[in-house]
């Protein structure tokens, strides 16, 4: 196990200007009974991926509230991570035949990590399937163990889930990002949303000059409507469907389309999808397909802020935090009703849901012709994120969980 290093600190007090002093006071009130008590968060990677990103922000905030929290990263060989990658895809529903050797590798690395760790904090939070078998180290009448599952378990591969379930059932509770992802389990299951950090580079306020510069670099006209989808080049994000919806809307409204995602150079499937997208976009100078560097938070932020409408036309989605990012920037969002999106986009209140290319095109036309409604959706969306999907709310949810677990004991 390695102890993970957390990112540069943003003091808790800095969040007062975003959420208000009363909300900070509330966090302090909730943390007061937990002062000096110990929490351990364990996942399988210190960098990259949404879990590491969230823990990087969450841990320093919890420390400021005098909760003794530490974050540790599970170690494993290449064989372990190959197996867990296959498990991950299988739990998402991909066909996979797990062999006894796969299970053996999984068990062996968990056992090694159990031997290296004290695992004696009062609250132990295990993230995702990789370290799930650490629960075997739990002492009788001991501490509280919870499992945070960040993946969609709505259609899991039966063999892999049956194996994992034997461990998950031993926890005191499990947390999922959507009720749809939960399983029938003998333990309590809670709804835990992912979160965005309003002060991180991807979400903080930007100077208008910087936004103008980003648009100019990509030859995007700031004076015409801009439709944007931010997502990796993946068929499940349906970038080709977005282009088709844009084309229908464009018959009636002058607009541009920006499809921006991470580089597809190290992802063979992504490169194929990117080619499909470029082919679909061919001949239309108003479609900008942008391959951004692996981590370009300020650029993503600028593109979202410059957008007239943000689209997330996924065919399948985990939670879809890009939706919260756009809503936070008061953008009207049109998104598919899949995964965690309907939690963020309450139809006709904080955005519009669509179920097809034609439906998406209709909603684009509707919002372009009703800017006052678009503005109101954006305002409500911002409030919705503030109330439910900010990192401070996530911290509050964890504090509440620890208080509830302590009370139940």
């Amino acid at each position: 196990m390695l102890e993970a290093q957390t990112a540069s600190r943003i003091p808790l007090d800095d969040y007062a200007e975003v959420i208000g002093e009363g909300e900070l006071e509330e966090l302090r009130a909730l943390a007061k009974p937990l002062r000096g008590r110990t929490v351990e968060m364990i996942n399988s990677t210190a960098v990259g991926g949404g879990v590491a990103e969230i823990l990087n922000r969450l841990i320093p905030l919890a420390e400021e509230l005098d909760v003794k929290i530490r974050w540790e990263v599970m170690t494993g060989g290449e064989d372990f991570f190959e197996v867990t990658k296959s498990f991950h895809n299988a739990l998402h529903g991909e066909p996979y035949h797990a062999t006894p050797r796969d299970f053996e590798i999984f068990r062996a690395y968990n056992e090694r990590n159990r031997a290296r760790l004290a695992l004696d904090s009062e609250f132990v939070v295990i993230h995702d399937p990789q370290p799930a078998a650490l629960i075997e180290a739990r002492k009788k009448n001991g501490n509280h163990w919870v499992w945070r599952c960040h993946i969609d378990l709505s259609h899991p591969n039966r063999g892999v889930w049956d194996f994992l379930e034997t461990y998950v059932s031993k926890y005191d509770g499990a947390m999922f990002s959507s009720p749809e992802f939960a399983r029938k389990l003998p333990i309590p299951q809670y709804l835990f949303y992912p979160a965005i950090d309003p002060l991180a580079e991807k979400n903080r306020e930007l100077e208008p000059e910087f936004i103008a510069d980003v648009l100019s670099r990509h030859a995007i006209d700031p004076l015409r409507s801009i439709l944007t989808q931010i997502s990796r080049f993946d068929r499940l994000k349906d970038p080709v469907g977005v282009i088709r919806a844009y084309r229908i809307a464009k018959r009636y409204f002058d607009c541009q389309l920006v499809l921006a995602g991470g580089s597809a150079s190290d992802d063979p499937e992504g490169a194929v999808v990117l080619q499909e997208v470029l082919q679909e976009a061919q001949g239309d100078p108003d479609i900008k397909v942008l391959e951004l560097p692996a981590w370009a938070p300020l650029e993503v932020n600028a593109l979202q802020r410059a957008s007239t409408i943000v689209i997330q036309k996924s065919l399948r989605e985990g939670f879809g935090l890009t939706v919260s990012e756009a809503l936070w920037k008061k953008k009207p969002v049109i998104a598919s009703a899949v995964g965690g999106i309907p939690t963020q986009v309450i139809h006709k209140h904080t955005g519009l849901l669509a179920h097809s290319v034609e439906g998406t095109a209709y909603q684009i036309r509707f919002l372009l012709s009703h800017p006052e409604i678009a503005a109101k959706l954006g305002e409500h969306g911002h409030e919705h994120v503030k109330e439910n999907f900010l990192i401070t709310q996530k911290l509050k949810r964890y504090l509440t969980l620890f208080l509830a677990l302590a009370k139940s004991a």
């Binding site: 208000g20 909300e23 006071e25 299951q189 709804l191 109330e387 504090l399």
Partner: protein, 231 residues
Amino acid sequence: MNTSEMPFEFFTVAHLTRIGNQSAATLAEFLTGLEQCSDASIFHHTFQTLGSHHFLTEGFSNDFAQWALADANRDALAEQLTALDIRDYISIAALRADLCRVVREYCGAHPEFAHQTTLEPFYFCESVEVTVPFGRTATTLDEFRQGIEHLSHAAFYFHFISSRLRLQLRTNDFSHWLADGLGLKALADSVNRIDIYTNTLDSARGKLIQLIDLERRKHVGSTNGEPHSAR
């Protein structure tokens, strides 16, 4: 200005959402769910959701109505569910009975829709509530005003909205204390009339503070020998 012998203690509340084992993909299943789900589930989808969606002041009333509108595509049913006002209920049992009656009557009148599959299922969840002291108390109207100003949304919600079930009265913690603790019955009634459906928690708080300020001015006026008047 009066001092109460019984201080008002500010609390805050935090909710965990527990995912239930029930879901509904048709109106008929939805009715069964409403009949069988826990009280904590009815609370979660009505009282609690009003607090967490307080910023929606046009047409959002509870999760049941929103699902009937957006996922079941049944406008008339949604309208009836929206119209159920939680201020009329001091028990979950009474609220559940009315929710069930509305859905049962709708399915009876439109049997063709009762078994139609909805766009998305309704997942019954429930609230697990944790309350902690906010660390403030008030014995005078001035201290009370200060406390109100610094409350979080959840704390304001706890005292102003969900307190009705706790008190089992058609009032809220603030009005209850203003009337019983400070003897300000008229102010208590005005506070209880602030509409929680057409106000956000912030605007409701703003109105409450306005009403308190009006009351304070009356007392300053009376100390100076001026007549009592609500300007």
